[in-house]
Symmetry: D2
Subunit: 353 residues, 4 copies
């Protein structure tokens, strides 16, 4: 249950960073939806390490294999299992860390929870788990595209550099995945500076869903905001999420933040496309706070399993800023959340939309 | 399913604002836990309207009746149903709004979802639904208290006035529920000013859990951060949530935000008590962005069901700032989230903690 | 979670036999479905005690109150909570049983599970819990009727007397609720004979769903057979369930039991309307084994909480055969199971049927 | 959701009969439990085809690969994914059946549900799906063994031949898996006679759990009987389930079927080890009705996709009686059901048992 997301479109991931494989089972895909391995692979390629100087140099091909649920190019309506083998698993790199709780990592809390752990690369708590989410998200993206729903995303803040524009056509053209080509350069500089100091830096990722019809979501516990909150805060290294105006609205007044609706569409979007937990037809806008990566080369104080203190420097290949790689994951979680809400609305109303 | 929260400690609320009653069924309470109606009532009294000049003057006694699951003062281990009758339901106040989509409200999205609605006071989308959450949360609070877990909360920002201190002993002594008595006065002024202008103002609510042992939560989809994100963003009028350092960490570096652990406890708490989705023994700290209340007396442009525009002023008794009343609700959601994580950890490890 | 049934149409019951009330919350009802309290009441009246000489003389009006989710005569799409007060709760009758584990009852297992119990009338394990199921089932029945699905049921065996006909129009005209008026008389005699001996007798209840379109259900874990199995075996005092040919097929051959399908409809129905877990368009036929009621006036050996043996005779008002009262409950569970399968199919295919 | 079983110990299977692979993800395994691939393989070997003249001659090695969740020989507490490649998938055998709805099979209902299907060998509705259940069940069996719970099972009826004894030590020594060596011979004769006639025959499988402590299960919707009912009726080709005395109790009286409890243990077991939905400490006894296999070589009338009638004989390698191969699957489902109930009880009471 703890590795599953969704109620009607249920995505269950599995796999440790340095075990045989990572993967996902997607249960609830409607039948007859075209499934192209190439599109899934493209999303995995966006997520995989080694894409630019800004990301970790760990290099894995991350080839996806579809094990079930697809026949003659379309979904069968049965579970779709997908598998990615771990190939570049240099477990030896982690031997020195076996008895040390790395600062900022989940090593200590994980040990407190389970009483044991796979120390190699974080095991289950590794960002590598997101491979399954991205593969599952690609399926949802394909299904949503058929009714005109499109999901885009990008890095909108790194350190103190903020994107001033939202030109989603440029995000894949710069290594930061920033929708503001100008700001992207400044962000890259901040990231490289952190890398040179064997440090890391945080940022903000924004994801937007276009074309979502009004009526998806629920009014109480499973508000669309709530499910997006769960979705985004389940991504490793995220520590905040906001919808539409978010925290910025706190200092404003109702007369300013009540979106103006002219009977057909919203003229402002402080609600981020969600009113009372239900989509209102405007763009759904979510921003996610990404903390600075916890694996840094700089020497830090740490504790050992026996409770002694020591100093460690996390050697190896790490991301100085994980925002560029969080982008496809956050998009995937948006896809999964919307897919689930869509199916639920079909159950409730018995119609296509 | 859409009105339930939790997997092992399942809370299902029901009720419309102006229907016969609101209430909750709590399924999963362990047997033998003392249940005092007085304690549940105290939490409901904190939530109910009419407590001060800062809140709505709608006045309901909100007397809770326990219908099941409690015998001779303790829980039976069976579902605990609780009921609060709606007594001050002046439905007539809402007749004028029957065919108008109020700005900022869920009227339009709700109609798009269901095709019909109970227009009286927002029906199911009313904040009144939180009565059930608070009653359920009080049960969880009592159970958690038995193992030394304590939940506190308060308003830490209103408009641009921020609390500088966290003295939880003073929150119930000022009408804003601010943990900084000094700041509370400034906040109250901001709220009264908004009220005088027939407007509303937003703010931030913070909730803290003390005494949570390390090991609660999960490493992937149901991270403790994720469940808290879902919990908080399911509260009406919330548009953001952050854990520990939250959005503020984005502009910092890893060497700064990696919490220092001396083998026994954390010396800093950027992680907000949760590492890799699992509690790490430090205080769990969550902040929630509360938008300005959408019901304001100021005339606003609105659309009718027929797609025409009109101007409306929401008359009646409304909260100029809902933060003080969100505090007990956010605390309740923290209680529910932790209770569920606790029971799950008991299932996994088979021990009391 | 343990008091809920269904995934998309979720029914959660609450209440102890001798507590303040029993009831139900139904979450997942589509909006716009007519809800008449009278129809719900009629089903409750079929279930309630005291209907004839064949059933217990405990007499409760069992008046249902709808607390939420219904507005101007139709469902809102929000949770529908319903309440029935316990009025004839003669708790004193049970004082003598406080420290005795009644033979055949759940007293011992319940104590082993919870460590405490409400001993009055079985508390939560009482058949009175089914009030909530019947109320919830009535809602599902109303919704299903709109697309031509009809559920009927009756007692088809008592002791060794079996119904030879299935004339569903006569079931409400005899106190056994038998679809064979002739057999009904024999059954009544068996029941009265058992009553006179302060004993009880078992039987079989059959429930049939007519008009279910092909395509409801699932091929693996949540086969329609499986969900019906869960549904029926969750009814108190049931110890077996079979679909279509059931156990009788075990002694036959495949060439005999493979139903003949002429391209439009099935000419035989050994499958009971379900092929591979999915409805095939034929009548869905389920039979439920009902054990002899465990509460009997005859003196029996029993054990006390302290592990000593004693002899008890269960005084009070009990059913010598509970089949007539299981009929409306089994029908309700069929309604709930089909409702859930229907909504799930709508989610999968996005169409009305 | 439709391919998952369990609430705390969640088993999700995937795979089509003639796709690349079948498999399972098990989420909820407590950490630190020894996991031996050899034990999982042994259970798969019991299930796999080609074991004797009584079963299908399709021959697949069914080698299991553990993909995640196990480290240094023990469970990590994270999802355990297991994979079995399909190797002997002679898809050509099925080309002739592409446009025909085979009698007794799910072809028509499946097409009605999904609008398309993988016709090769039944696709998802094939018994091959149970590979994942057996692998998951083997994990549960290992965990349960650590607290002294043991699950056994066997074929207790074939055609009209019934087992008179329950000697579980002989079940693996005869190809029918019958606990009565004498009856096993008669059963084998019945099966071979059916095979010679290109027909098939049904039977009954019994599964028994020994050593289950009192207190597992729930009093209402998720009664242990109910979950076992769901578990067993989710197995392909099953059409009935009974607990303890089952249908046989219907013709008896309460004074006979109320089990005698002497304060320590039960002297009779009409309840099949479950009272009021909760285990009572006696052996848990479940019987499952297995219909005659639907794939037979005898010519039968069938309908085509276009609604015409035709005659077909299902050529290929099929089981004349699937009871021997249902035994390990039914045992696996018992293991899964009990594992889930055990974890739930740990959550409720916070203790090991």
């Amino acid at each position: 249950m703890s590795s599953s997301f969704g109620r009607l479109f249920v995505v269950t991931t599995f796999g440790e960073s340095h075990g045989p494989a990572v993967g996902v089972v997607v249960d609830g895909m409607p039948p007859g939806v075209p499934v192209e391995a190439g599109e899934i692979q493209r999303e995995l390629d966006r997520r995989r390490p080694g894409q630019s100087a800004l990301t970790t140099q760990r290099s894995e091909a991350d080839r996806v294999e579809i094990l079930s649920g697809v026949f003659e190019g379309v979904s069968l309506g049965t579970p779709i299992a997908m598998l990615v083998r771990n190939t570049d698993a240099r477990s030896k790199d982690y031997d020195a860390l076996k008895d040390v709780f790395r600062p900022g990592h989940a090593d200590y809390s994980y040990m407190a929870k389970y009483g044991l752990r796979d120390h190699r690369g974080g095991g289950r708590s590794s960002g590598r788990e997101t491979v399954g989410r991205v593969a599952g998200g690609a399926l949802a993206r394909g299904a949503l595209a058929q009714i005109g729903v499109k999901i885009v995303g990008g890095t909108v803040q790194v350190g103190e550099v903020k994107a001033m524009r939202r030109d989603w056509s440029v995000t894949e053209k710069n290594p930061v995945r920033c929708p503001d080509a100008m700001a992207a350069r400044g962000m890259a500089e901040v990231i490289l500076a952190a890398r040179d100091q064997k440090d890391s830096v945080g940022g903000v990722v924004e994801v937007v869903a276009q074309g979502v019809p009004a009526g998806w979501g629920d009014p109480t516990m499973t508000k669309l905001d709530a499910m997006l909150g769960m979705a985004m805060l389940s991504i490793p290294a995220t520590k905040g999420v906001e919808i539409g105006g978010g925290f910025g609205m706190c200092a404003l007044t109702g007369s300013k933040t009540n979106d103006v609706f002219d009977g057909k569409k919203y003229l402002t979007n402080f609600a981020g496309g969600i009113s009372g937990g239900i989509s209102n037809g405007a763009e759904i806008v979510v921003r996610v706070a990404v903390r600075p990566a916890t694996s840094i080369g700089k020497p830090q104080q740490a504790a050992t399993k026996r409770g002694r203190t020591t100093t460690i420097a996390i050697e190896g290949r790490h991301d100085p800023c994980i925002c560029p790689r969080v982008v496809p994951v956050a998009e995937a979680m948006m896809c999964l959340t919307l897919m689930d809400a869509w199916l639920r609305q079909r159950a409730l109303r018995g119609r296509e939309k």
